[in-house]
């Protein structure tokens, strides 16, 4: 039985984003955000299969595909694929906008973001995502507010560490 079916077909959620994956054109995972409980083994299996499926898509194909009983919305930005799994009732077109908004946030934060930024600062990519989405839904629709919150939180790291130097040094 497909793994996702056993978990996701039966909770009585009628719409939610189940997970978001970022991966390179070589299939290397750069970020994974899961909004449903799955074991590490299951996550690995899903990731592997989905990455294969998406990478096999030709450029002329549309951004949506049916996979198991989910809808997959994906978009490539430069060398990174952004891939979301949504449920049947969800609006694919607005999910594309969600992905785009996240990319814009990353872009604003890192200044012309590229894959390397996300590789070397993956924890920040997560922090930004967690200020934008919560439980798979958008918590803030203003770009400015998300970035402001991140900025303040970053500051908080530095202020609290009077004995240590800035973030990049302590980690």
């Amino acid at each position: 039985m497909p793994l996702i079916t056993s978990i996701c077909a039966f909770p009585l959620t009628t719409h939610c984003m189940q997970f978001m994956l970022l991966f390179s054109r070589q299939g290397k995972l750069r970020l994974q955000k899961w909004y449903v409980p799955l074991s590490d083994k299951e996550k690995k299996k899903i990731t592997r299969e989905l990455v294969q499926t998406v990478l096999a898509r030709k450029p002329k194909m549309c951004s949506f595909l049916e996979w198991r009983d989910l809808k997959i919305v994906y978009k490539r930005y430069a060398s990174l694929y952004f891939c979301c799994a949504i449920e049947d009732q969800d609006n694919e077109l607005i999910t594309l906008e969600i992905i785009h908004r996240y990319v814009e946030l990353l872009d604003k934060y890192f200044g012309s973001v590229c894959e390397l930024d996300i590789i070397f600062n993956f924890e920040k990519a997560y922090f930004i995502l967690d200020e934008f989405l919560l439980g798979g839904e958008a918590q803030e629709t203003s770009k400015k507010n998300v970035l402001k919150a991140i900025e303040q939180a970053d500051l908080l790291q530095e202020v609290r560490h009077i004995t240590e130097s800035a973030w990049s040094d302590s980690v």
Binding site: R30, K60, I98, G135, E137, E140, Q157, R160, S170
Partner: protein, 820 residues
């Protein structure tokens, strides 16, 4: 001990590895260092080490030894520690591990922290991965934060509440008071998340739904402001103000307006406004239009609005952006039943989409095309669909072939056209045709009496060309066996009769018997056909010889047939003519063969990638009535009408005793065995054992179960196993009503996961009498070829004391004997 290397340093180092082995070595070395650092309980560098561990985890390496360290970080008072600690918890921990419960106390403290960013971390983590136990413990804190005036926290609390409700639905009530003035917020973040929360509550509880209906005017106002307000830089996306919020409001309106005339009326204007004023040049505008269309189609909108919606979809179909086309086809598929004529207007565009490059678009276009076939357009549509069948990918062929057969059966303008169409499918996509099509086609051919000569001639010619496509070969063999006399006598009227001798025909059939291309089933058909010809041809000796040769065939099935046919020649020769007589016309007792689908908001989406277990054809459902409101189309399963097997009129009842299970006609069962397509070949014996005779309760002793018991309505399931197919479970539901008022308009609907198939027969009645004075029964048949654990989601709708009631439930407690 030197300071552990920095995160970015590690990343840089690992990326220099040239081979997988080199990388693994680096990782192992670093993990060892991290482990010893953890053992030393080093507070300073714990954060750095966990961050590195998270990186290595993303590369695929095990990181479970860092789980407890994450908890220590969360408990720390440093913000950096907490940030990484919570991130680690979300990545490394999940509710299956008991360890996660240790977080509960920390989260509780952090929910009450003086710094909102710490509170935010806690809310985010709880809302992302909180288990039911954690949610139960912390729901009170979340509820408190839902009432705060701090919008940063309030928006997070709202989504956290959504998660809590999903995990522990019983807690929904406690959040009700806090929702009171959520919509009066000016902050878009809070508004957005509040709408999400309200949506969740309304979808889970009919009471909440009625309660929140009064919000419709307020929602309409908010939406109106968004559309009418000028440029707002903070929320603008390509000229549209906060599309995310707009889409969410539209969805909530959909749920509120769904079965309610007044609410639908109240939102009519705003929907028309959004539909006509939204900018369509970019994806964002189309996203809003899409949601609007979905809402219009789902509520009780007036016809003008519905036509507007369909036209939007029609325009979408012409959009250059393939994503938009895809979405249009999906939506049209949902609405094609209820707004058939409106969708028909876009038929030619839809048919053009059959040529699209994208697989998903092609599939939807195919399904929609089948849905649009009717008596008027059958010829034109069939031309397009047959052309599609010729050139499409193998993954489509089975569904397309089945679709063509069904459409042809329903709307064939003439018998000749029908036979020609079948021939076309068999010759071009013969290997993809489903096994159950063979008996169906045979029945069709038998019943087209005046076309027998034409049919057998065409099939014979097809056999001369190609004997590799088994379904074609099987149908042809059967026909030749039946109508071989018409073939050699050259009686065809429809086209130029061909000259063929008995020997030539027997050559072809014998060729099938020896060919490597023929499957055992096909060989069975061929042998039986040859046998039948013994009463139609004069070259009986040749036939006798062939039959006796196969009496020692290695294939047991063939051997048995040959031996029994031999017996026919020897001892029972006097019966032979009667036994091998021409087949009579077979009655089809089912209503209108085509498979029906229980719709879920009109969705009929088979999995495109599920090529291992091809879904049975998703036929256009012809019930506009019930739209199953269950979870998406995930569980949609074609509900197939039974075609009850009929036995051929036998020439003498006593023959049954003499010949046991041998098919009386020497051919396959005339009507399909339970019409659920199975992968078993249509063996003679299976087909003949008809349901009534062999309906032993092989599953005697499966305990009944209570599937549902709420508000006075109790539904019990009792079980039987249908022989001969052990993969089918027959469930009878018994609905009883213990309240003092009758439950009228009672409708029971069910859905199962994709690997199952479901067939729902008619209920005994739609009134469940009060005070347990009677029950409504209904039979469900579930095909479970993969023998997986049976699960079902049911939806019950009825009217009780004047008000409509609707409920959804999951049934998971099936006794193992019902599906093993």
């Amino acid at each position: 001990m030197p300071a552990p290397i920095r995160l970015r340093e590690l990343i840089r180092t690992i990326r220099t590895a040239r081979t997988q082995a080199e990388e693994r070595e680096m990782i192992q070395k670093e993990c060892a260092a991290i482990r010893s650092s953890f053992r030393e309980e080093d507070n300073t560098y714990r954060c750095r080490n966990v961050a590195k561990l998270l990186y290595m985890h993303m590369l695929g390496y095990p990181a479970h030894f860092g789980q407890l360290e994450c908890l220590k970080l969360i408990a720390s008072q440093k913000f950096t520690d907490k940030r990484i600690g919570y991130l680690g918890a979300m990545l490394l921990l999940d509710e299956r591990q008991d360890v996660h419960l240790l977080m509960t106390n920390c989260i509780k403290n952090d929910l009450n922290h003086s710094t909102q960013y710490v509170q935010g971390l806690a809310l985010c983590t709880l809302g992302c991965m909180g288990s039911s136990e954690m949610c139960r413990d912390l729901a009170g804190e979340v509820e408190k934060l839902l009432k705060t005036s701090n919008s940063y926290l309030r928006k997070k609390a709202a989504l956290c509440a959504v998660h809590v409700i999903r995990k522990v639905p019983e807690l929904m009530e406690m959040f009700l008071p806090a929702t009171k003035n959520l919509l009066s917020e000016k902050n878009h973040g809070v508004l957005h998340t509040s709408v999400v929360l309200l949506t969740e509550m309304c979808e889970r509880s009919p009471d909440m739904l009625s309660h929140f209906r009064k919000l419709v005017p307020q929602l309409v106002r908010i939406l109106k402001n968004l559309i009418m307000s000028g440029y707002s830089p903070e929320h603008d996306v390509s000229g549209i103000s906060d599309p995310f919020l707009q889409v969410r409001i539209l969805r909530l309106l959909r749920i509120l307006g769904r079965s309610d005339d007044d609410s639908s009326e109240a939102m009519n204007d705003i929907l028309a406004q959004v539909a006509t004023n939204t900018e369509t040049s970019k994806n964002v505008g189309n996203a809003i239009l899409y949601e609007t269309v979905l809402t219009i189609m789902d509520i009780k909108s007036e016809s003008g609005l519905r036509v507007l919606a369909i036209n939007i979809l029609g325009r979408f179909l012409l959009n250059n952006d393939k994503n938009i086309r895809y979405v249009a086809l999906t939506s049209l598929l949902k609405t094609v039943q209820t707004d058939h004529n409106a969708v028909q207007r876009h038929r030619s565009t839809i048919v053009d989409c059959l040529k699209d490059l994208d697989v998903s678009i092609k599939r939807r276009a195919m399904e929609l095309s089948f849905a649009l076939v009717n008596g008027n357009n059958i010829r034109g549509m069939m031309k397009e669909l047959l052309y599609f069948l010729d050139s499409c990918d193998p993954e489509f062929k089975a569904d397309c072939a089945s679709g063509v057969f069904l459409a042809a059966e329903k709307y064939a303008p003439s018998k000749r056209w029908h036979i020609d169409t079948i021939m076309r499918v068999l010759t071009t996509a013969g290997s993809y045709v489903r096994d159950d099509s063979v008996p169906n086609l045979i029945q069709l051919i038998t019943n087209s009496v005046e076309m027998h000569a034409y049919t057998v001639q065409r099939l014979y010619k097809a056999l001369l060309d190609d004997i590799s496509q088994q379904p074609l070969v099987q149908v042809s063999s059967w026909c030749i066996g039946e109508y071989g006399d018409l073939l050699v006598s050259g009686q065809c009227e429809e086209e130029e009769p061909i000259q063929v001798t008995e020997d030539e025909v027997l050559d072809v059939l014998e060729g099938l018997l020896v060919s490597n291309l023929s499957t055992p089933v096909t060989r069975g058909y061929a042998l039986t056909a040859i046998m039948k010809l013994s009463t139609r041809f004069s070259s009986v000796n040749r036939i006798k010889k062939v039959v006796s040769i196969y009496g020692s065939s290695i294939d047991v099935e063939l051997q048995q047939r040959a031996v029994e046919y031999n017996a026919l020649f020897k001892k029972y020769d006097h019966m032979r003519p009667a036994l091998l007589e021409r087949m009579p016309i077979m009655e089809k007792t089912a209503t209108n063969g085509p498979t029906e689908i229980v719709q879920t908001n009109g969705e009929t989406e088979p999995s495109v990638l599920d090529t291992k277990h091809p879904p049975p054809v998703t036929q256009p459902a012809n019930q506009a009535n019930d739209l199953l409101d269950l979870l998406g189309g995930n569980d949609v399963v074609p509900v197939i009408q039974t075609t009850l097997p009929t036995k051929p009129a036998s020439a003498g009842g006593e023959l049954l005793d003499l010949l046991g299970d041998l098919s009386l006609t020497g051919g396959p069962a005339p009507a399909p065995a339970p019409s659920v397509p199975t992968s078993q070949p249509p063996f003679l014996l299976d087909g003949l054992s008809s349901q009534p005779l062999f309906n032993d309760i092989a599953a005697a002793g499966i305990p009944p179960m209570t599937a549902y018991n709420k508000n006075g309505l109790k539904i019990e399931f009792t079980f039987e196993r249908a022989n001969p197919n052990p993969n089918i479970a027959v469930i009878t539901i018994h609905a009883s009503n213990s309240t003092e008022a009758d439950m009228t308009d009672f409708v029971f609907q069910a859905a199962v996961p994709k690997t199952f198939q479901l067939q729902l027969l008619s209920p005994s009645s739609n009134v469940v009498p009060a005070l347990n004075q009677g029950t409504v029964t209904q039979v469900i048949r579930v095909l479970n070829p993969q023998k997986q654990q049976l699960r079902m989601r049911i939806k019950l709708t009825y009217t009780h004391k004047g008000s409509p009631v609707q409920d959804l439930a999951e049934v998971n407690n099936f006794p193992p004997q019902s599906w093993q």
